[in-house]
Symmetry: none
Subunit: 215 residues, 4 copies
DNA sequence: CATGAATGAGAATTCATTCAT
DNA sequence: AATGAATGAATTCTCATTCAT
């Protein structure tokens, strides 16, 4: 049972719940509005209204509007994602996965579920990243940590066994990510449900075998 | 010999150059600024300054700031891209391509060059699309037209010959696109050069064979 | 003790004083400036200055400049004037008025005093009405209510007694109004005092007897 | 045979037709637009469009937008009206008018026809006069000239004969004007036809006899 | 003479942020 | 802590006016 659900992770990410109920309402309202309309087209009046709070209260905790954005994205990048990675790795370690198919299936499903559970944050992240690509670097820095973890041992092992092609791991991760994204991005942006089981099987099927018929 | 370059296509897209020199300067300045800072964080004062034009002039042709954005994105979606597709298809038809490797190589290179040549517009498009996913639908509508062209015959032929797996074509296109994007997106957002030759060979290599060693 | 004075009626008309002191200052400043220079030639900067308030404050309560105009004219047409009519009718009812001279004298004086007390609003009303005659219809709709009140009984009674000519009442009201206006309009537009006593006596003298010497 | 019609007087008023066809088109377009929407809400772009002329041409003859207004109102006040008065007086002199009824009838009809024929200018004049009452003085100055003309002799004669009450002539003119206005103003502002014959008879009937039944 | 592109000063309006209550 | 009125800088947009062609 992979990640905790969104509520839990989000709340935990909000600095150990040192936020009052109202402040959390502000954060949730901002999360929704930023995701729906974008940071620049959301005004503090609307945030206050949606959070059922005065405009002054919005500024009590978060000194600026920019600060609210940081309060959403910073923990997302530096806490939610790392924590998700950690839990993912733990899950992987526990799972006896003899074939690479099974391994990738778990990995892909894990990523897809995470993305859907954190849809709003991801959408905000994408919006900001298209403006300020340095955010992508921040994310990349976190992602690289995967390659500094036991998971590498799994992959190297598959390579040694001849189950996985002998390319540099970053290149392998790149392709898997790209393929997963083609399933997830439309859902993150447009909403709608994703049949994670079907999507993950299709992904693994392609990623492993490519477009040329075997035999 | 593939696409005309950016300058040409962009100028052509501006409705037969019915724009004065100054109006074109406004459009170019907006293109740059929107791409650099995003639509919402660009103000008309800055556009006027960069275009060496008065603020009034900015509004003479394009009635609103929103109108400038449309003047950039609309022809991009409805003229530049379709024209690029048309020229791409023509190139394909002319090329005798015995193996699917060669065919995909040309296709992928073509797409990559186009993306890099239209980097600024693409970046603006991405920024807006993350806010208003309906733009993706507009783009999708144009893209679908590919599947209504001679290129389909090529692909079906490869499938019949056993060079291409027997999946629905949209699924095949989806994976190719996803993989190409992993090379292009970082360049579109961050700038920098892409070794199109190397990237396209790697892409085709992966897309056709997947991550599992053949044999 | 006819109408309450302007201050009272104006304040009452402002929706039970649900406006802060500053908002009332905005309204008063607008009233003065619109009356002096006309709506179109008054800018919000001047309103803010005269009200000793920031320009943002002008827009807090009244969403647009147009909105300020409505905040002045709407209650004037739909509350101040109806209320004035009601009080006028009450005054009339209480007054035992054996002759039509006395009756008209009270009526005319009443109208003149009201017009002078509401000089600024009337002037704005006139300015707008010359652009948008539909305003006159709105006013007319309110005025017609007079002919749906006890005052009609008075007039009919005078007609029966042979003190008042047997014309349709609207025609009679039309002439009285026209004559009263010749005294009031110059004062509304130019300012200056009106000797209400003298003016009302002259009006009644003319209205009743015409220009041809009796006997 | 009272006034020449509008076209004639207006054209004559335009400085002896020293205006080109285009300039006259500008004046006519301005006349219509100012009357419809008011001076401040009419822009020079609209004037140029309605006159089928470039915006530059609008400024060739009339240095400023204000100048167009003057070109309309100045001759109206200082030429059209005086000329109308002169012709009116001439008509009066020629007419043998034994009774005051007949005399007033002609006078009133004359005024009404003039007002209707010059509806657009009058409307503009009213709009401006409600802003800048000094215009009323200008008009008044012209009007006073009536009392410096043969017409005075007519009126004094009627007074001597006991057909006209022995009040100061300005007061008499004031009442007549007020009554005439109640018929004309609604038409000037709202448009629509006026039954000049009926209206003039009613006016004279009231003005002479008042509201109290004779005997 | 006529044109209409260009100008730039100003106007309305928005909104993040502050602060007295 | 919470409120929301108040602020004023910034922004979009309009329009009378000018001037090169």
């Amino acid at each position: 049972m992979a990640n905790k659900d969104f509520q839990t992770l989000f709340s935990e990410s909000l600095g150990q719940s040192d936020l009052s109920v109202k402040q959390q309402a502000v954060l949730r309202a901002s999360l929704e509005l930023f995701s729906e309309k974008g940071f620049d087209r959301t005004n503090t009046r609307d945030i206050a209204d949606r959070a059922n709070v005065s405009e002054g209260t919005v500024y009590k905790q978060f000194k600026t509007k920019e600060g609210i954005l940081s309060a959403i994205l910073d923990p997302f990048i530096h806490q939610v994602i790392p924590k998700a990675i950690a839990e993912f790795l733990e899950d992987m370690s526990k799972t006896a996965t003899p074939t690479i198919e099974d391994f990738l299936l778990v990995a892909v499903q894990n990523r897809m579920k995470f993305a859907l559970a954190n849809r709003l944050q991801l959408r905000i992240f994408l919006q900001e990243a298209t403006r300020d690509p340095s955010l992508l670097n921040d994310l990349g820095a976190e992602a690289v940590k995967i390659l500094d973890s036991p998971i590498v041992d799994f992959l190297r092992n598959y390579q040694r066994e001849g189950q996985l092609i002998d390319w540099p791991l970053p290149r392998i991760v790149q392709y898997m990510l790209g393929t997963v994204l083609t399933y997830i991005l439309p859902k993150v942006l447009n909403g709608g449900d994703l049949d994670v089981n079907k999507a993950s099987h299709e992904t693994v099927e392609f990623v492993l075998n490519g477009l040329k018929p075997r035999k």
